[in-house]
Amino acid sequence: MDARAETDAAIACRPPGTVMRLSRLGSFHQTRLSFMRVLLRRLRRENWRFERPVFSIDARGVGEAVYTMRGPDRAYSLVAFAHDLPPDQRSDRVIATAWDATFTLFDGVPDAGDIARLRENVPRQEAGRVSDRELSVSRANRSVRLFEHVVDALAAGRQPDPARVDEVGYLMRTTAVYGSGKLGAADREAIETRPEFMPPFQAEMLSVWLTRAFVMDLVEEMARHRAAGTAVALDPDLRRRFGIGNSTGLGMAPFLISHPILLNNWIHAREEALARVRRLPDAGADTVRIFHRMRARAERCVALWRSEHPVQRQRLTALAADLDALRAYVAGAGLSGPLPWDRLWRWGEAELTEEGQEMLVSLLLEPHGALVDGLACCMSAEEVEGFVIDGAMTVDRLRAILEEIYGWALEIDWTAPETQARAWYVSAAKLEPRLGERWEEDLGPYEQPLAPGRDAARLYHALADEAPGGPVAGFLLRHPDHRHSVRRAQIAARHPYSEIRDNTIGADLMPIDMLRAKLSFFGAGHFDPRSDRWVRINMYRGAPFPHELHAQPEDDWSWPRAGGDA
C-alpha cells in the first residue's frame, strides 16, 4: 500500500453509529454543501441575471410582484401576492388560513393570464390549486417586532436600529414552502434533469431567496408611500443583515425517515467532505488564513445567535466555550506538521461538545471549496431505486443486516411503555403529521410508519422461526406486514447513513433534532427552538440580493463578518 492509500484507509468517514444519532443530527450547522450556498454559487458562476418585470404595491403593502432570474437556458419567476392581514389572523401554525404574503415559483416568466390564474389560487394556499408550470407554493408572515420599526424609520428618513435588526434578523417568516408535486405543482421528476435542479431543493431555495428580496423591496416601498418626501432606502450593508425567517413544525420531521436514500446521500457527502479534508497532508498558507477568518466569524455567529429555549441556551454557552478552546488550540498547536486538519479534528472529537464538533466540521470545509464543493452533485437521490425488494436474499443475511444496522433497537425492551410513549399520526383537521402520547390517546390505529427501530425489532423476532437459508420472498408472502421494514433494512445495507439510529417514538424524543438536521442542509442558521417540536430559523442572512449577486464576492456570506474582517 502506498502512503496515500494508507492515509485514506486510516482516515475514513465517521461510522453511521456515531453520526446518525438524534442528538448529533440535532447539532448540525450549515456548511459549504448546504443547498442555499450551492444555489448561489451556481447562479453567480453561470451569470444568472435578475429582472423585476412587475412591482405594484400600495401604501398598505398590498399588491403583486414578479421577480425573475434568467439563466443560460431557462428563467424562473417568483410571483408574490402581498396582503393586509389583520393581526389576530397572523399565525405561524400550519393550520392558519391567511398570511401577510403568498408566493409561487413559476417555470419561466408569467404572462397576464398566468398571473390572473395564480391570483385566484396562490393566496388560498392549500385551498387553491396550481399547475405543472409552478415549482413551489409558499407563504410568509411579518415579524411584528421589526416590520413596523423598519417602515417607520425609513419613512422618517432614518436607518433602522442595527441592534434591533440583529435581534430579530428578518422582516418576514415563511411558514410553509411546498415543492415537488404538492397542491398540483410540478413533480420533482419533471425537472430533476435540469442542471440547476440536480442538487436537492434548489427550486425551493430559489423561491426563498427571491422572497427575501421581495420583502426588503416591500418595506422600502411602503416607507415611500408613507412619506415620499423624506423616505430613504436601506443602507446596502445593513440591508444584507436581514435574512428571511422560517418557522418549521413537525410536518418536516417525517421527511428524513421517509426519504432514506436522500438522507444517506446528504450525510454521506458531508462525511466524505470531512474525510477528504482530514486526509490532506499539509495546510497551505491560504487555507490556514481562510480557516482563521471563518473561525472568527463562527464566534461572531454564536454571539449573534439568540434563543429563549433553555436547552438551546445551554448549548450556545457551551458552543461559545468550544470556540474559545478552538482558538486557544490552534494558537498553540498551529496547523503545521503532517495531517494538520486530521490532528485538529481528533482534538475536537476529544474535547468539544457535539455542537462544537459539528461546527468544526463546517469550519474545516470552509477553506476547501475546490476539494469538496463538487460533492453537492451527489446529494440528490432517486428513492425509487431502493424500492424494489431483493426477494432472493436469505433470511440469514437479512437477520445479519438487522443485527448490524438496528443492533441498538434490538437491545431495547419495547414492552416498556416509555420506549413507545409517542406515536406519529396525521390529524383529520389539517392532514399534517403530529406527535401524540400513545398511551393517553387512542392513536395506535392511526400510527404512521415512522418508528423504523421498533419495526425492525418486530421483524427480527418474526424471523426467529424461519429457515436460515430460505429466501426473503417466501417470508414476505406469508408476512406482508413486515414488507416496509424489509425494504428499509435492504436500503440501509447499501446506504449506511440512511437510517437514524435512535428511537423516534420514545418519551425523551426531541423532534427538533430532526428538523435541525434537515434545515442545516438547507443552509439555515440561528436555530431557535420554540418548543420541543417547532423551531425558528434564519435563511440567507448576510447573502447578496439578486440585483447585486455579481458585485459581491462568491459564497462569502453565510457566516457573519467579524470585527476587522475584510
Binding site: 393581526p87 399565525s91 401554525r93 393550520i95 399547475s131 405543472d132 408572515n141 415579524s143 411584528v144 417586532r145 415537488s180 408535486g181 404538492k182 398540483g184 405543482a185 410540478a186 413533480d187 418557522s247 413544525g249 413537525l250 429563549e308 425509487v384 424500492f387 424494489v388 425488494i389 431483493d390 426477494g391 432472493a392 399520526y425 396525521v426 390529524s427 383529520a428 383537521a429 392532514l431 399534517e432 403530529r434 406527535l435 401524540g436 390517546e441 392511526y446 410508519p449 429466501p471 426473503v472 420472498a473 414476505l476 408472502l477 406469508r478 406482508p480 406486514d481 413486515h482 414488507r483 416496509h484 421494514s485 424489509v486 425494504r487 420554540r530 418548543s531 420541543d532 417540536r533 417547532w534
Partner: protein, 216 residues
C-alpha cells in the same frame, strides 16, 4: 377529469390502501403501482380504487398466491389480489419460470409495474398476456405499445407472465401528470380518511407543539 401530480396520486393511493387495511409496505406498493401506470397514461388511480373497494378489510392470505402442483399461482381464497401477486412476482424475479400462469386475478393491469420491476432486476424482457393482448416490458422495465386491444381492465382474468419475449418496438412515452375522475378521487379519499386521527381539542393544542407565541 382532474389532473394530479404523480406525487399526489401516489400519496393518495398509498393512504387509501392503508385505509383499506393493507400493511404499510403493501400500501407503498399500491401507491407506486398507481403512479407507474398513470405515468404511462393508464388508469392506475381508477383501478386502485376498484381493487381497494373490492378487497376492503380482507385478510391477506386468501388474496395471496399459492403455487399448485402444476406451478400455476392460485389464490388462497376465491381470487388473487394483483398487488399481492405482483409483489410476489417481483420478489421472486430471479426464480420465475419462463411461463407463469396465475389467476383468477382482480384488475390484472395492476400487475404490470411489478413485472417491470422483475424485468429490471433480471435484465430480461417480460410480457403480461391475457386473451389476445400482450403487454411487453423491455429489459429496462419500459412499456411497449400493446399488441391486441387494451384489455377490459376492471375485471377478473387468468393471465400469463412470460419471460424473454421480443421487445424491439419503441417504448411508450411517459408523462408527469395523472388524470383521475372526480369520482375516483372521492372514492380513494374516502378510504384514505380512515388513516387520519379524529381531531380533539387536546390534540390540536399538543400534537403540533404550540406553546410560545407565534405572532411576534
Amino acid at each position: 377529469m382532474k389532473l394530479l401530480s404523480l406525487g399526489e396520486t401516489e400519496a393518495l393511493v398509498r393512504k387509501a390502501a392503508r385505509g383499506a387495511g393493507r400493511s404499510w409496505g403493501m400500501a407503498e406498493e399500491a401507491g407506486r403501482t398507481a403512479r407507474w401506470l398513470e405515468a404511462y397514461g393508464l388508469p392506475g388511480a381508477m383501478l386502485s380504487a376498484a381493487l381497494l373497494e373490492k378487497t376492503d378489510g380482507a385478510a391477506a392470505a386468501p388474496l395471496a398466491p399459492q403455487p399448485d402442483a402444476a406451478g400455476v399461482w392460485r389464490p388462497g381464497g376465491a381470487v388473487l389480489c394483483p398487488l399481492a401477486a405482483g409483489t410476489a412476482l417481483s420478489d421472486a424475479a430471479r426464480a420465475l419460470p419462463e411461463d407463469l400462469r396465475l389467476g383468477p386475478v382482480l384488475c390484472p393491469l395492476l400487475i404490470l409495474p411489478h413485472l417491470a420491476a422483475a424485468a429490471l432486476q433480471t435484465g430480461r424482457s417480460h410480457a403480461l398476456c391475457w386473451g389476445d393482448t400482450r403487454l411487453t416490458l423491455t429489459a429496462l422495465g419500459a412499456l411497449l405499445p400493446p399488441e391486441g386491444a387494451w384489455p377490459d381492465q376492471d375485471r377478473v382474468a387468468r393471465v400469463t407472465c412470460r419471460r424473454d419475449v421480443r421487445a424491439d418496438a419503441a417504448p411508450l412515452a411517459r408523462r408527469h401528470r395523472a388524470a383521475a375522475a372526480q369520482d375516483t378521487i372521492r372514492r380513494l379519499e374516502r378510504l384514505a380518511e380512515r388513516t387520519y386521527a379524529p381531531e380533539t381539542a387536546d390534540r390540536r393544542l399538543s400534537g403540533a407543539g404550540a406553546g410560545l407565541t407565534d405572532n411576534d
